[in-house]
């Protein structure tokens, strides 16, 4: 990894002077034409900032490397992982014209489809009169960018180093994998809009989530609630449902071990676009573990009401069987403090 650090340093130096007046500075809504996991368009946040090394870029809150800038042309990389967890690095090359960056993505020289970035206006909803939208329906598994690396604190790194995904991952024991991971896994959801709450029925583990929209506040001592899905309160800002969740248990939000603390606050922005697709923009604010909020943007398509969501009963037998076959059962019992 040292080699990459040196390479990045060398690449960043000539970019410094060009960065101050860069037309790329600011926040963009990034859209890749080809979702990295299931082949649909996927969205995320793209931010360009002026840092000590020049123009810094972040996708969904994790840094990416700006490789070239030449006027209105830019090249940067994007690290991501596919569903089986194989690592990838795409190169995004684009040009800015009329307020939109458009370009193409490649991986090892192979075409990975087009991309574009627009200034995000959807977040300017504070103060808008509520215009609730009926979200009732069955929504497909989400397309996501699946960014791979994020900025963790020393505490976050220590938490990750204690974690062994082959033995500590809660889903191995059929324990809920929690709000963030469950919301981005390869499963459908069914949403039931009610007058004072919204029910989300997850295919994954048959988890049920309630988002209260009746104006209630969080319960006292919510930080000790130790909830997999958190306690969620929603409000409408125009036609955007803004949801805040607290009370998440200290755990991980993905199988690889990205940590989440009991102080974490998750904010979601739910909206349906003109094409009828459901967007949910996640932001995980957890300063204990991350220097910047971690973001994710899932897009789900509407499915016919006749769509069957199969039962997801779960049996941990295979996990213990594997541990027994590999002679690791004693190791498992000794790791009680790591159980999530």
């Amino acid at each position: 990894m040292i080699e990459r650090t040196i390479l990045v340093s060398l690449m960043m130096m000539p970019l410094t002077s060009a960065a101050q007046d860069s037309p790329f500075l600011g926040e963009w809504l990034l859209r890749l034409d080809q979702d990295n996991r299931i082949g649909r368009s996927a969205y995320g946040s793209l931010v360009f900032e002026l840092g000590t090394g020049g123009l810094e870029a972040y996708i969904d809150g994790g840094s990416v490397n700006v490789l070239e800038i030449d006027g209105t042309r830019i090249v940067f990389d994007f690290d991501w992982s596919d569903l089986p967890d194989a690592r990838h690095l795409s190169i995004l090359e684009g040009a800015l014209a009329n307020g939109v960056i458009t370009g193409t993505a490649t991986e090892n020289g192979e075409d990975r489809g087009g991309w574009r970035a627009m200034r995000s206006e959807r977040r300017d909803t504070v103060g808008l009169a509520p215009e609730p939208v009926d979200l009732t329906g069955i929504w497909s598994r989400p397309a996501i960018l699946s960014k791979h690396e994020f900025e963790v604190t020393a505490a976050g790194r220590a938490a990750d180093e204690r974690y062994d995904s082959t033995i500590d991952d809660p889903i191995l024991r059929c324990v809920s994998d929690g709000l963030i991971r469950m919301s981005h896994g390869p499963f459908h959801i069914e949403v039931v809009s009610m007058p004072n709450k919204i029910i989300v029925l997850h295919e994954d583990l048959h988890e049920v989530r309630r988002i209260y929209t009746d104006g209630r506040d969080f319960p006292a001592d919510i930080e000790y609630a130790n909830l997999a899905m958190g306690f969620s309160i929603g409000r409408w800002e125009g036609s955007t449902l803004v949801v805040e969740s607290r009370g998440l248990k200290p755990s991980v939000w993905d199988a690889a071990g990205m940590p989440i603390s009991s102080d974490a606050v998750v904010t979601e922005r739910w909206y349906v676009d003109d094409a009828g697709e459901l967007h949910v923009e996640f932001s995980l604010d957890d300063p204990v573990n991350y220097h910047r909020p971690v973001e994710m943007h899932g897009v789900r398509s509407p499915l016919p009401p006749s769509t069957l969501i199969p039962e997801y009963s779960c049996d941990p037998h295979a996990f213990y069987r594997s541990l027994q076959l590999e002679g690791r059962l004693d190791e498992y019992w000794s790791r009680g403090a790591n159980r999530l």
């Binding site: 991501w80 604190t153 790194r157 082959t166 191995l172 499963f187 690889a256 295979a318 590999e326």
Partner: protein, 119 residues
């Protein structure tokens, strides 16, 4: 394996590191994604359930000694969407399959379902 990447633009006062994320199930932790292998043997147990379907297969190694392999695939809904049923692979079947091999020589295989041959 986790990877840590020190950033060239890291703050002098804060340890900033980039860390891996986003897998649904950490297959990469148990399997070597670059090491594809093929095994042939007799199915002795089928675990037709979530979180992932497993098949346990007795395989004779190069010395003729029988070893028990743990073969893992996806969740039930995904497996069934790909056209597989409980009858696709049954106890007693002799099969040849390929997939990512377990790390560190452990007898595991992440099944590529398209590789299945029932012999």
């Amino acid at each position: 394996m986790k990877k840590w990447v020190s950033l060239a633009v890291a703050s002098a006062t804060a340890l900033v590191v980039a860390q891996s994320a986003t897998a649904h199930h950490a297959l990469a932790a148990n399997y070597d994604t670059d090491n594809i292998g093929t095994i042939e043997g007799v199915v002795v147990e089928v675990f037709w359930s979530n979180p992932h379907v497993h098949y346990y297969i007795e395989v004779a190694n190069a010395e003729g000694v029988t070893e028990l392999w743990d073969v893992e695939t996806s969740n039930l809904a995904t497996v069934m969407r790909s056209g597989w049923t409980r009858e696709t692979v049954e106890v007693g079947d002799r099969i040849r399959i390929s997939g990512q091999l377990g790390r560190n020589g452990i007898h595991r295989l992440a099944l590529d379902r398209e590789s299945l041959e029932v012999l």
